[in-house]
Amino acid sequence: MQENKNALKIAVTAVLTAVVVVFTMIVRIPTAKGYLNLCDVAICFIAFTFGPASAFIAAGLGTALADLISGYAQWAPISFAVHGLEGLLIALIVRNKAGVEASLLKKILAGIVCMATVTLGYFALSSLFISTAAVAAAEIPGNLVQSAVGFILGLGVSTAVKRAYPPVRFLAW
């Protein structure tokens, strides 16, 4: 039984990681320090639909792999930390008993946490390891827009997927 569970956990994590990579790489708007993308849609979807552990691993690993593949390898550790934390925090905030929808207050809080984590995370880590605070600050508006749009779309997609494919609730761990 434990083997079955392990296999399912690995399968879920692998496919969700691939989803994050595809969402990160398919729609890209170049900016001063890299690119804006749909990764937050995938991360918010995973956080709303699956548990904190899946959200942390798939979000962190998926965005880091996308950076490695796209030639932005220097951003991979930062993306892993920031987006992993983003997925984990959103999932922890909206986590509820099975079948119970998260309240509006929790969703708003999750949205604020999502934007704050991405914006402050990238600002702090990139000004510490890659550039300076002035250069890192230039990316704040882009990150705010990306995370806000990602959160709203992720929430919508999560609701739509739960309706279109109800067995998804059996895949969460």
Binding site: E3, V15, V22, M25, I26, G62, T132, L153, L171
Partner: protein, 255 residues
């Protein structure tokens, strides 16, 4: 969609053991943050770029530079204003705009950024992803983590292809109205496409889980195993070379 940064070639970096290459990459990234002279840093970066050019070709080197060019521009334009102390380089009446220290710090940041970018890029440009995974296993990456990454790489093309097909079919239905839509409407229109892609991806999970069970995942006697990196026969030598390279650079460049 391209899922690999590998550039085919025959240079010496391709023959260097991937396990030693990872060590060298980490050591060089640490080296760029050590207290070293600006000239030493710039020459080290130049050396890395030349090695990259000799191994992966000028086209790849130019492509990487173009991808970081906007960031470099930002860095060189804005970083000098951060440092207010020191000798004035450019001033308007009594107001100092840029100091010598500020300009030097901007150059150091730019060199460091270029160095880290090329060191990381060269690892992935000269090593196939499978060998990087095997090298990471050598550096104690857990079996399940390596399996997740390997499986993800096999699923990325499938999901990307589904995305293209689904978005293409959605676009065919709405092509007449596309030009008049604003950004909000376009984002809203993405919802059905994203939902369909996610459902397609999620439907593949039970099959994948079943395949993993069939292959003996979690059992004491595994039916499959990772292959080894035995084709690289100079692991110890490559480790020593990696450490010598960074040590020599440190001795030559330390401030």
């Amino acid at each position: 969609m391209n899922t690999s940064a590998y550039v085919a070639g025959h240079g010496w970096l391709y023959r260097f053991d991937p396990r030693a290459k990872i060590l060298l990459m980490v050591l060089l990234c640490v080296f760029f943050f050590l207290p070293i002279t600006l000239t030493g840093l710039a020459l080290t970066v130049l050396l890395v770029v030349v090695v990259g050019w000799r191994n992966t070709g000028g086209k790849n080197i130019a492509r990487v530079f173009l991808s970081i060019a906007p960031m470099l521009l930002f860095m060189l334009l804005f970083s000098p204003f951060n440092v207010r102390s020191g000798q004035s380089l450019w001033s308007v009446r009594s107001l100092t705009i840029i100091t010598v220290e500020g300009a030097l710090q901007a150059l150091r940041l730019a060199c460091r950024f270029i160095g880290i970018t090329y060191v990381c890029t060269l690892l992935f440009a000269t090593t196939v992803m499978g060998e990087i995974m095997l090298a990471l296993r050598f550096w104690r990456l857990p079996y399940k983590a390596a399996l997740v990454v390997t499986l993800s790489f096999t699923y990325i093309p499938f999901i990307a292809e589904s995305f293209s097909q689904i978005s293409e079919s959605h676009r065919l239905r709405e092509s007449a109205r596309e030009e008049r839509k604003n950004y909000a409407q376009r984002l809203k229109d993405l919802l059905p496409t994203l939902t369909s892609v996610l459902v397609v991806a999620l439907r593949s999970i039970p099959n994948l889980a079943m395949s993993l069970e069939m292959r003996g995942l979690g059992r004491s006697e595994r039916r499959t195993n990772y292959r080894s990196l035995d084709s690289y026969t100079h692991l110890f030598t490559d480790f020593v070379i990696s450490i010598i390279i960074v040590t020599v650079l440190w001795v030559l460049c330390k401030a």
